[in-house]
Symmetry: C2
Subunit: 401 residues, 2 copies
């Protein structure tokens, strides 16, 4: 049996009308004679509401109970969506994460999938039923766990991999992956296709369509993805291992305003200092992205790095705690920055590309604070106030107006 996995996010099932629209898409796919497994998130803002209720009762709720609480959101969605699919005349069965066989690690709130026991799902498909699975959740030693950020996408990709699905469709509120965020850059163009690596960078660098965790998993198991709109029948953007670039080397742009930078000024030139600092940050699960070390006045060094803005306070605390050891004369933190990136496979093979990007930023009067590059991305840090102007300038230079 050829299998389609379809994933519907919270906005795609936020109310009865949308739930019915999703059910119609599922029923249509099932009527084509395919096995259909749909993975669904909690409705609209339900997860946020449950978190708020929990915080009212206990400012530090136990993670185990938090997971039991939040998993109810997807259990509600999956039950309702199964009913909605049945109302379309297509047999359907709802399954919670543990019923669908998601066995995870025991790290509540950010569990990882250890294995997927697909017997129940496979048996239901064999009986001609569509299977509606509660995303974001699993089980460990009889306790319900949740997968954390990007969890429902990850559930869908894992199921597609385990079932050998031809395609894993991610239904969302945009109709594909664009060359830039279309809410910011009006001239942004929808992409027909993009590679896993490019999509991973896009996601990591601020394009919010999918979480990079699920893209990594799709790449690992070579699961073809399609990002599609819940609100139309338009074809979306296909994400796979290789995708011909045609004339262009650049696939898209991204802008991440949820970033901050920390600078340690006047650091003594002692070997091992950077290693000490970054290993401590890593031990605290703080992901540093760009790192620049530059020689300052009087032979001391400046170290500057970017981190997610949510981690800025913690990173700053760590930097201060190491201040004497690293001998910094000053520690600065700037949360009002943004990272603007250009993404494309083999991008750095062509030296004209960075030159063109910097020229576009200069013409737009945007000051570049930091630069970082890899085989597949070129990122600059700019003032947050310049972010939209910078993104538009870079997008226009490479994709036209």
């Amino acid at each position: 049996m050829e299998i389609t996995v379809m994933k519907f996010g919270g906005t795609s099932v936020a109310n009865s009308d949308r739930m019915t629209a999703a059910a119609q898409k599922i029923a249509k796919e099932a009527r084509r004679g395919r096995g259909v497994v749909a993975v669904v998130s909690a409705q609209g803002k339900l997860t946020d509401e449950l978190i708020a209720k929990a915080k009212e009762l206990n400012t530090e709720p136990t993670l185990r109970e938090m997971d039991a609480l939040l998993s109810a959101g997807e259990q509600i969605s999956s039950s309702l969506l199964a009913m909605a699919v049945a109302a379309q005349g297509v047999p359907s069965v709802a399954m919670s994460g543990w019923q669908a066989g998601f066995v995870t690690t025991g790290s509540f709130g950010s569990a990882r999938i250890k294995k997927l026991e697909t017997e129940r799902v496979t048996a239901a498909l064999a009986e001609g039923k569509t299977v509606i699975v509660a995303g974001f959740q699993g089980i460990c030693d009889g306790d319900i766990t949740t997968l954390g950020r990007g969890g429902s996408d990850t559930s869908a990709v894992a199921l597609a991999a385990a079932l050998g699905a031809d395609i894993c469709r991610i239904y969302t509120d945009v109709d594909g992956v664009y060359t830039a965020d279309p809410r910011v850059v009006k001239t942004a163009k929808k992409l027909d296709g993009i590679t896993y690596d490019e999509m991973f960078e896009m996601a990591s660098l601020g394009a919010g369509v999918m979480h990079n965790r699920s893209i990594k998993l799709a790449k690992k198991y070579n699961v073809p993805l399609e990002v599609r709109s819940s609100f139309s029948d338009l074809e979306g953007t296909i994400i796979k291992e290789r995708y011909p670039l045609e004339e262009k080397m650049i696939r898209g742009t991204a802008c991440d305003e949820k970033t901050a930078k920390i600078s340690l000024v006047g650091v003594s030139n002692i070997p091992g200092i950077a290693s000490k600092l970054f290993s401590t940050l890593k031990d605290n699960n703080i992901h540093t992205d760009m790192i620049i070390q530059s020689l300052g006045a009087d032979n001391s060094w400046n170290i500057t790095f970017t981190i997610p803005v949510d981690n800025a306070e913690r990173a700053l605390y760590i930097a201060h705690s190491l201040r004497n050891e690293v001998g910094a004369t000053r520690i600065d933190c700037d949360k009002d920055i943004a990272k603007v990136s250009l993404i494309g496979t083999g991008l750095m093979e062509n030296p004209e590309i960075p030159a063109k990007m910097f020229a576009a930023l200069t013409s737009a009067g945007v000051n570049i604070q930091m630069i970082s590059s890899s085989e597949i991305r070129l990122s600059v840090v700019v003032a947050e106030a310049d972010a939209k102007k910078a993104l538009s300038a870079v997008h226009e230079a490479f994709f036209g107006v």
Copy 2:
């Protein structure tokens, strides 16, 4: 370890303040050195809201998915209440029905408990934790089931029985069992105690404090119950096997307006007709309470019986379908009736009691349509418009003003 089981209904956990109040009661009991297991219902109107959502999507949702949906309500409550108890400084763990070991039959929506595997609950109690269990639910062959009406009370009583608890406290929005509904009869008095049998009749005859199913279970396993208020620390009403009646033979009164009567007029005098009618009703799960067969004109018979008003249409349909067979000349249905009852162990041993009850009703100008009695109850059917007047008159005659 001495164990207290505490059950909190939907109104007792409807919002954060009430949830915290319930948690304080649980924490207080735990600090007395007792093992505490709390059973909790879904918050306020959540179950009704989930049913409404389901009906919007599918007018005939599958029972399996309905149970998966509704069970999320208690899962949310139990998680939140465990957090609220932990916030009181008392270690606590939330368990769903299947985690707490409720193995049920597979009749979704009205499952019965087959066995209770209490290992997890016992282990948690041994670790010094209070256990907060999602009521109303269990598991059958890997599918979530719900216990139907009175389900959370039944969960609590079953746990108390299986754990050998000293007491099972039912926290609700009234502070005990009264001689009449205090919202209707202002002079109603709270009872210190009542027997299982009396309470069973009270519940069956319209006193809404507890569901008769859970009282039956409590009697079977001799679990002492206490009905208490969630909103005060007052002692409630104890329900147990025997309770001294002191001077009084009458324990209380009840009024059930959710009843209807159906009359088959002019039935041919054929043996087996009543049997045919009532076995068909029973096969359709329609519970008949009072039955009167009387000789009418020209040697034909009238058969009149009462049923829950929710079943009236179905019962009427069945009566009509048997009309030719039973040879009835007319079938009437009256939904505007009420059943007013007097409850007390050994009540019918004293012939003065029925006489006193009928006199009180006559003085109040209430016409009696039907009479039925047993060892422990005496019920009359009156017009629904007379229900409150009748209840007050009977209550005043036996309990004073």
